[in-house]
Symmetry: C2
Subunit: 345 residues, 2 copies
């Protein structure tokens, strides 16, 4: 595999960026952002300048843009939209980081970021896959799928693992990794084409479109022997249904709540505490940023599976900043196919 | 300490018993039971006859009497109400179990049970406390408090532990055991007298009557630094409130759902999956019957704490079968003080 073509960034002068200019309630829409351009800022001692190549579009950006407290502070109005990105160091005042080093981290939706080492998620050593992979299957998505599954889901051979947003950037990987662990893997997703991708391309044992009929019936048909591990990215009524199929001692990985567009006020749903009790569930929340110490070991496991094609993954790559303001809404509308990225190289 | 006075049961002839005769929806009431008397049944090979001394009254009996699937099968109509009890073997056809052996197990609400070893929870060796203790602090209540706290709650020194039904048979012990682990322990309970018992007799750092004002304010005042371990026996709106005070990485022990009188249809409440995610909670259900292998080690820890008075506990002992039909409803009405037992010796 070869890295993407990288233009010459050695003489930058202006920085294009996407600012958060409105405070969304729920899913951010194009009107909450503005495109902008400014001069480059200087690189301070210990810092380096990263030229972004692939900007990441992630469900978590909804929370970061909202007012309500999240596991990260809200992005201040008027500042660059927080985002992960893959880029290359083009200027450095840190001797540990040379020009030409590829990096993945908190560089924001902009051309250039001036940051220090604490902004990095991973330092890309030998480039063993297309650079875009380091923002997806070898970035947060793959790390999340692998670490959430192994640390909270703890599947064992023969388990039934049910994954939501099963055709998505994280879900499709969680399912494939559960297959690697010897499990029966089933998925729920939002349209028939994605169902076909789950059972075809991603190798799920079964999958269903949750909109295609009665939810109880759909889930019951997927898991005739109950659910041992529920890898949940959506919450909401699907969670309420699946939890009632869990086997005794089952594990729920709460990795996202994408089905709920707005948490203010907190919506109601079926009470689930009796299910937790009677089924002796272990229901755990997973936020990848708690697990950075485990990234190197996780990448050691994942990289060969990506390199040899065992772990298949898709990317939905837009080009240029124009699509950025609508990119999060597009994600929540389920319009992307695979990991959503914006190429700005 | 001396064992309770045990009359001579060597020549029984009739068996008084409490039958489940109606199928309650929710909390069983007196009209769902009938008193009855019958001849003694013969003791089969490998079995023994237990003369019950203390019958246990437990919240879980609600579930056992209901139609809805529970973690145990429903008690069939017309049969003896399922219950734990402490008794003494008065006749045996099992050479491993001698007459005079005190035992604790599934003997039902009746004078005499003919059972085999699989009906036993614990075999009472040296009687180191009043016999009634073996149905409470050294029975299911103490074992539940200890094993649920240590295996699901996993408190560490300095944690804040919040306990519901804090003055109850399990809650009061969970709180005291968390204090032993070096935690700050706070409790919620249903009246001011119980609040005083929590902070007085049971040594909680603070306690409150959840009915005494706005629930959010009451809980916030109890846990100004948030909740690390929530030992929950009630579920419902109290759970919805406390979960929103949990610190990152907190643990919820779901040990009961006593605040919900009826699960058919399943009631609604605030959606809690986002709390699980953002606070990275670990929410686990605990049913004591999964942990029988741990009983001997748990009793080894608990018995000295009971014997030396470290672990204080209360018993609410009624005498005779007449009160049995109303005993479960009385429990759910919070009218008992401490572990509810019926003395039938």
């Amino acid at each position: 595999m070869t890295a993407a073509f990288i233009p010459d960034y050695s003489h930058p002068d202006r920085n294009r960026r996407v600012l958060l200019t409105g405070r969304p309630v729920g899913i951010p829409q194009p009107e909450h952002f503005a495109l902008d351009e400014c001069d480059l800022e200087p690189v301070g001692e210990g810092q380096f300048r990263v030229r972004n190549i692939y900007l990441s579009v992630d469900p978590a950006q909804r929370g970061w843009s909202n007012e309500a407290a999240n596991y990260s502070a809200a992005v201040p109005l008027g500042s660059v939209m927080r985002a992960l990105a893959v880029g290359v160091i083009v200027e450095t005042r840190n001797e540990e980081f040379a020009v030409g080093q590829y990096v993945y981290g908190w560089f924001g939706w902009q051309d250039y970021a001036v940051v220090g080492p604490d902004a990095l998620m991973t330092r890309i050593g030998e480039v063993a896959a297309p650079l875009s992979a380091y923002a997806g299957v070898l970035g947060m998505n793959g790390l999340t799928a692998y670490l959430a599954l192994t640390k909270v889901g703890r599947p064992v051979e023969g388990n039934t693992v049910l994954v939501t947003t099963a055709a998505g950037a994280v879900g499709s990987l969680a399912g494939q990794l559960a297959k690697q662990a010897g499990c029966r893997v089933v998925g729920l997703t939002g349209d028939d084409e994605k169902v076909a991708r789950c059972t075809g391309r991603f190798g799920f044992d079964a999958a269903a479109n949750y909109k295609s009929g009665d939810l109880d019936d759909i889930v019951a048909a997927l898991v005739p022997d109950g659910t041992d591990v529920y890898y949940d990215n959506v919450g909401g009524p699907i969670l309420d249904t699946v939890i009632r199929t869990m086997n005794v001692g089952g594990r729920i990985v709460q990795c996202g709540t994408a089905s709920i567009a707005n948490w203010i006020p907190v919506p109601s749903g079926l009470r689930n505490e009796r299910e937790v009790l009677m089924r002796r569930l272990q229901w755990g929340g997973f936020v990848i940023f708690d697990h950075m110490a485990d990234f190197p070991a996780a990448l050691e496991y994942l990289a060969p599976l990506v390199a040899d094609g065992t772990l298949v993954h898709d990317e939905d790559i837009a080009t240029g900043f124009d699509g950025a303001p609508g990119a999060i809404a597009r994600l929540y509308a389920g319009e992307n196919v695979g990991k959503s990225l914006i190429f700005v190289g």
